[in-house]
Amino acid sequence: MTLDSSGPGPVDVCSWIGGYPFREIPHPEAAILARVVLPREGFSGAWVGHLPGAFQRDPASSNEALLKSIESYRDILEPAPIVRPDWPGWLATLTWAVEHGAPAVRIYPAQWGMVAENPRLRELALACGELGLALHVTVRFEDLRQRHFMDVASDVSAALLRGIARIPGSRCHLVVSGAGRELIEETHWGLTPEEQSRVWYDFNWLWGPPEDSFAHLVRTLGAPRLTWSSYWPLRLAQQCRSLTTLLPDDLLANGAVESLADGRIIASSARSAGVAGSATSNRQDV
């Protein structure tokens, strides 16, 4: 999956529209993302979240705003609404997400104060697997060193990620954005091969040369576990392109870039693994 013109570009698994409470971000509008940023940077589509909703209690208004904002750009933007599993009606929201063509739903456990053993997260993960929806986790929005004094949420822990991936019988496809090398390795190598096969890591926050964390993980985890993103509008959208441009020659020659995952690949796999409709059969929506 590449950004060049040889085929359809990758589908970005992590972008948002809407404002951010802790600093000004230019142009968080859907139109800019859909008609300027993604085409310019070689992405063929994006999973889009609604950024304000990450900091609100009830996600309903945020999800409605998301759908309304992207309705004119559904050729390139796919909704990734928020599903908060400790909120009444969450299973109905999940079904609503499927009905509106969402490839994934987003959770913000750090902002919600959820820890690794939270049973609601496990329920949500199981339901996502059954409905063929990917479950997207944002580890962080910003670097720890620059956070606003009111931004007190921690980063999502590897223990929480492992906890979701280890659920017995789960078909949940987990996508992790905002993780650095250590968090990715602590998660990946703490899973069985079967569990590993259902987890993808957005490589936007890995370092290239001279530290070469990205190249290291391409060699050890393998490119298919790593997925493209833009992180728009919080970060400059060119970072994944830079990282792939700077991969060592041997990895470029061996097709590492073409082997990277993207939203299209993950969504297809999640849909194939899911059994639509079964999620509602034995769960209580409370």
């Binding site: 230019p26 620059q146 970072q239």
Partner: protein
């Protein structure tokens, strides 16, 4: 004559040595140089901070460690055929040693002074170092933690205001505020540096916030920004790519890529990058 559209100078780079904390130091250095060639960097202006913590703390390097690091850096730059130029790095707590290292460094070809976080930037200990740097017509690259609101481990970090106070005291010295993407709130530093013409900023650091470059251009100005990568060349490339969409003129883009560096560093420091003329200072699009 400079290739104004393609020339690129990395004004903030680092290398490791056999005496630092990495067994893979040669791989690390080679990776930087290979990435630089792919990005189009024609010259890395680099330093080594003591032993990088191996035998004394990175930001409080012992005199012996810093001398050994500088020796290695001068030799490495000297053997690079102009691909690398050196900063002389010093710990200002050992002022006599620092001044002698600066003298030795410029004799060995250094083109700037590197100060990290061994002492707050507005401390009086730095004045003599700043005065000497001006005598060599050389800038001081100073590590900054933007909007420092508490003490951080292993460093006496300065923030934009600390460095601004030094720059206002030492108007004949040129200062480079390190890495606007290097941690903390860069908007605080943009405000702190307002109107201080002898204080410029480099764009390096791992931070690639959307809006960072736009604000730097708006509030600091293209004449006071230098492209650089520090220890994450991927984010350096990202900022370089993003700059091409920032609405800058060709001259302004060239100023950030290399022209401001030609103006800030000693006259002739990058003469080897010009194809035809030895006197390159006048070639700067901003000079």
């Amino acid at each position: 004559m400079f290739d104004r559209d393609h020339l690129l100078i990395d004004a903030h780079a680092h290398f490791h040595t056999p005496f630092t904390n990495r067994v893979d130091w040669e791989h690390y250095n080679n990776s930087r140089l290979a990435a630089g060639r792919r990005i189009g960097v024609r010259c890395h202006v680099a330093s080594v901070l003591g032993s990088w913590g191996h035998t004394s703390p990175t930001y409080f390097a012992s005199p012996d460690d810093q001398t050994r690091a500088n020796d290695w850096m001068f030799d490495f730059a000297g053997a690079s055929n102009g691909e690398i130029r050196a900063f002389v790095a010093v710990n200002p707590n050992y002022t006599r040693h620092a001044l002698s290292e600066i003298e030795r460094g410029f004799a060995a070809g250094a083109i700037g002074v590197k100060l990290a976080a061994g002492r707050r930037a507005d401390d009086g200990l730095l004045d003599e170092i700043a005065t000497v740097a001006a005598q060599y017509d050389a800038p001081i690259l100073h590590h900054v933690w933007h909007h420092r609101q508490r003490d951080w481990p292993n460093q006496d970090a300065s923030d934009g205001l600390d460095l601004a106070r030094l720059a206002l005291r030492q108007r004949d010295t040129r200062f480079i505020m390190a890495h606007i993407g290097g941690g903390g709130d860069y908007t605080h530093s943009f405000a702190a540096a307002a109107g201080i013409d002898n204080l410029v900023m480099d764009l390096s650091g791992s931070g690639i916030d959307r809006g960072m470059l736009d604000l730097a251009i708006e509030r600091v100005g293209v004449q006071r920004l230098l492209w650089a990568s520090d220890i994450t060349m991927c984010t350096g490339l990202t900022k370089l790519l993003a700059l091409s969409h920032a609405g800058l003129s060709t001259d302004d883009l060239a100023a950030i890529r290399w022209g401001n560096a030609v103006r800030i560093f000693p006259r002739g420091a990058f003469a080897h990058l010009a194809d035809e003329r030895a006197d390159v200072a006048s070639e700067s699009p901003t000079g």
